[in-house]
């Protein structure tokens, strides 16, 4: 089977994810951690992230509803989200979190709400793109991936 086409797609997609700012250097670090002993490491981590972050997003949304004036709480929740996202290299999301925190600082509730919407969008977008990306990778097969993924 000719993987070259597939690989081209994979690389191209990865490049675009980076160029568009969805991912940053941290993601490369994750890929470097992947090897024969943990061939699906990146995918596993990303899956874990999205599971946990969905929960966090829900918490943030609820907090905005129930305790709109509690900026400290909001800031704290978003902080977690930010830390989590940064661990996998989710750059855009991380940036949006920073915006959110800035709004919290200014006690700008409306700003927070808008920011949250953006965060959710970024979150969903990244999730979708990465799922596509991983699908491509899976097609290549772990062995191929291991060999080629460092490129």
């Amino acid at each position: 089977m000719d993987y070259s086409n597939l690989w081209r797609q994979i690389f191209s997609m990865k490049k675009s994810l980076f160029d568009q700012g969805y991912l940053d250097e941290q993601y490369n670090q994750l890929e470097e951690l992947q090897d024969d002993s943990s061939p699906n490491f990146v995918e596993e981590v990303v899956a874990l992230f999205f599971k946990d972050s969905s929960r966090l997003l829900t918490n943030i949304e609820q907090a905005l509803e129930k305790y709109p004036q509690d900026f400290y709480r909001l800031d704290s929740l978003v902080h977690q989200f930010k830390g989590s996202g940064s661990s996998i290299g989710a750059l855009r999301m991380k940036n949006e979190c920073s915006m959110f925190k800035a709004h919290c600082n200014d006690r700008n509730l409306e700003g927070c709400r808008r920011s949250l919407q953006k965060m959710k969008r970024e979150h969903a977008t990244l999730k979708q793109k990465l799922e596509t990306y991983f699908q491509l990778l899976r097609q290549v097969g772990p062995r191929e991936r291991a060999v080629n993924s460092r490129k």
Partner: protein, 689 residues
């Protein structure tokens, strides 16, 4: 471990046991993987409370802890404190929060390092350094405390061998064997000190002025060359005091002498707040100061004492950079401006109160806030009253503060001039005589010893002379033969340790001062005056690195320089407060590390302001509390607080000032006159050293 790493061509130690605490599962997984890549032994834990339990159940089960700052069940800083206090393990903080003040807080609380998320592999690869460093320092402590006596000579050697030979063992083996040895040593030390506590920490002995005087008397009697802890202990005949206590105190004393000698030689050495020594508590200086502060000793007397001790007006100790000699002279003569003076002696004794720092010669009226030594004549002694000046360093810090204060005093006097002085010698190293001269009989009541130098003798750190700023405070590495050199080294010794020891060195000097003078010089003189951090930072136990430096990587350096950062916080703050007046007091400890903000020319006031405290005490006070809570701080600094024996204070054996690593050994040799410590010449004033 280090050796093993070297043996492997620079690989980090394999098998090092890391405990990662973070409520974020993603982060936990990523970190775990990275650490495994580094070939460490990783345990993850999403809850701080559970992590603490694990640690308590198995203290030796981990070598280093990496903990997140924001966690739901427990604040990361709290965990940091507890771990430091209870287990004395290196803790690395991490967070997505990169705000300087938070990072600073981490440092102050004793974090070995502070990583900003996302954490990269490269950063994790280096964490073994913290473990090694800590162990090394501890080892040194043991070494110092024990080695003064011939019996324990093997220990240090063994340790060294461990390092050296670990290479042969190979990865896991070496690491473990080293660890074991160290543990063994620690255990031995514990036993030795007679501390029945289950923890490895030993009760801290507070070296009060009186106690110190007894010590000095004993040393004089025996002759500095022949003064071995065992005999000193016998002569002192203080119930509850252990040989180890004496040993570490002696080491400090020697360092102090060395430092003085160094100063005498005109080597400006930053007062380098004995980062580690902070712990040690500049007993000497502080005590002295305490005495002074208590007002028991009239400034005039102190001045006279100093002169006598110094033997000569030369101010070799003088502020670095500045006209040291002149400073010294001034100091010696009781002139204020040259703050160099050991003011520590003359300094009003720091109030024992928590704000020992406050006690610092607040009197330094002239100086922007620096406790001016010159104040002596002024009767700064009333330091006790000026708690604010010193910055509310909490008790532990007080002691340090005092020292610093004392040290600073001269600086403060200089106020403007001091800026340039980088190294403020811990002041005049008052020959032991002076100490004796001091009126212990004067009525300095034991209570006066503010020294309760809390384990947090971080004050030492604070006392880093402003001038020191450029000099690595802990130049322990450069132990010079001269006594003074020692002292300087202490401060400068930072090299070896994170913060450390420099103070340690100071301490000895301080002690000589008989009043705990400043040997903390390192501490007091934060040169950085400019550096707001300095004061506060130091007080805070600063070991915290200058905010700028806090960044993970750099923090290490800070730690090193400050030595005290972790533990010494308490002290530092104290010093800082007082120092606040004196911009110079930057933490000098690692001038390099410090964001260099320690520019001496900094205005203290502004400094103080930057610290955010209207009054010096504020920052430190905050710090203090944290430090106090930690209790550990001193440990970090590795300084040992010598307090009142029997008071129940514990000096973690590990922390003994000895960390300062210095050149205690050198000291013994460097102290020429041996027989007569009191001899000012010895201190280098006469340049003999």
């Amino acid at each position: 471990m280090a050796a093993a790493a070297e043996a492997r061509g620079g690989d980090f130690p394999v098998g090092m046991k890391v405990l990662v605490v973070d409520d974020d599962p993603t982060c936990l997984v990523v970190l775990k993987r990275m650490l495994l890549e580094c070939r460490y032994d990783v345990t993850t834990c999403p809850q701080a409370t559970r992590a603490l339990t694990m640690l308590r159940e198995n203290r030796r089960g981990f070598d280093v802890i990496i903990s997140d700052v924001h966690m739901p069940d427990m604040d990361g800083f709290r965990l940091l404190e507890l771990v430091g206090l209870e287990m004395d393990l290196p803790v690395i903080m991490m967070s997505a929060d990169s705000r300087t003040d938070i990072v600073m807080k981490g440092i102050k609380h004793g974090a070995c390092d502070y990583l900003i998320k996302p954490v990269r592999m490269e950063e994790l690869k280096n964490i073994w350094q913290h473990v090694v460093r800590k162990k090394f320092n501890e080892n040194k402590d043991h070494e110092h405390s024990g080695s003064l006596d011939d019996t324990d000579r093997n220990r240090p050697t063994n340790n060294d061998n461990e390092y050296a030979s670990s290479a042969n063992d190979g990865g896991d083996g070496s690491w473990k064997s080293q660890k074991k040895k160290r543990e063994k040593e620690e255990d031995e030390a514990d036993l030795e000190s007679g501390d029945p506590s289950s923890t490895s920490k030993k009760p801290r002995v507070v070296w009060s002025v009186e106690l110190h005087q007894q010590f000095v008397n004993a040393v004089n009697h025996l002759g500095i060359d022949k003064a071995v802890p065992k005999k000193i202990l016998e002569l002192m005949n203080v119930p509850g005091l252990t040989r180890e206590n004496v040993a570490s105190h002696l080491q400090k004393f020697r360092l102090y002498l060395k430092r003085i000698a160094q100063h005498h030689a005109g080597i400006p050495h930053p007062f380098v707040a004995p980062a580690s020594s902070a712990k040690v508590a500049p007993l000497g200086g502080l005590e002295f100061q305490a005495l002074a502060a208590s007002g028991q000793i009239p400034p005039q007397a102190l001045a006279a004492l100093q002169d006598e001790l110094l033997g000569r007006p030369t101010s070799s100790l003088a502020l670095p950079g500045r006209d040291q000699s002149s400073l010294r002279l001034a100091a010696i003569k009781g002139n204020k401006p040259h703050g160099e003076r050991e003011i520590a002696f003359g300094q009003p004794i720091y109030k024992c109160q928590n704000n020992a720092y406050g006690a610092f010669p607040q009197s330094s009226p002239g100086v922007g806030g620096l406790p001016s030594f010159g104040a002596w004549p002024n009767n700064k002694l009333g330091m006790t009253d000026s708690p604010s000046a010193l910055g509310n360093v909490s008790n532990s810090q007080n002691s340090n503060l005092l020292l610093h204060e004392l040290q600073q005093q001269p600086d403060s006097l200089l106020t403007g001039t001091l800026h340039n002085i980088d190294v403020k010698p811990s002041g005049i190293v008052m020959p032991s005589q002076s100490l004796n001269a001091f009126p212990a009989s004067e009525g300095i009541s034991p209570n006066q010893n503010p020294l309760v130098i809390p384990s947090q003798s971080q004050s030492f750190l604070a006392s880093i002379p402003p001038s020191m700023k450029h000099e690595p405070l802990l130049a322990s590495s450069s132990p010079s033969n001269s006594l003074l050199g020692e002292i300087d080294m202490v401060n400068q010794a930072s090299t070896s340790q994170p913060l450390i020891s420099t103070h340690g060195a100071n301490l000895p000097g301080l002690m000589n001062r008989s009043s705990n003078a400043m040997p903390s010089s390192g501490i007091c003189n934060f040169q950085s005056g400019n550096n707001p951090y300095v004061v506060n930072q130091n007080a805070m136990g600063v070991s915290s690195r200058p905010p700028g430096v806090l960044k993970t990587e750099s923090t290490d350096s800070l730690n090193r320089s400050y030595g005290y950062i972790g533990g010494s916080t308490s002290v530092d703050s104290g010093l800082l407060s007082s120092q606040s007046k004196n911009p110079q007091y930057g933490l000098l400890q690692n001038p390099n590390d410090i964001t260099g903000s320690w520019s001496p020319s900094q205005d203290i006031d502004s400094y103080g302001n930057t610290l955010g405290q209207g009054h010096p005490g504020s920052t430190s006070s905050n710090y203090q509390s944290s430090n106090v809570a930690l209790g550990k701080l001193p440990d970090q600094g590795r300084g040992r607080n010598h307090g009142f024996v029997g008071k129940g204070t514990c000096i973690p054996s590990r922390f003994a000032v000895d960390e300062v690593e210095s050149p205690t050994n050198n000291l013994s040799h460097s102290i020429g006159s041996s027989a007569d410590i009191v001899n000012p010449d010895i201190f280098g004033f006469s340049g003999q050293m």
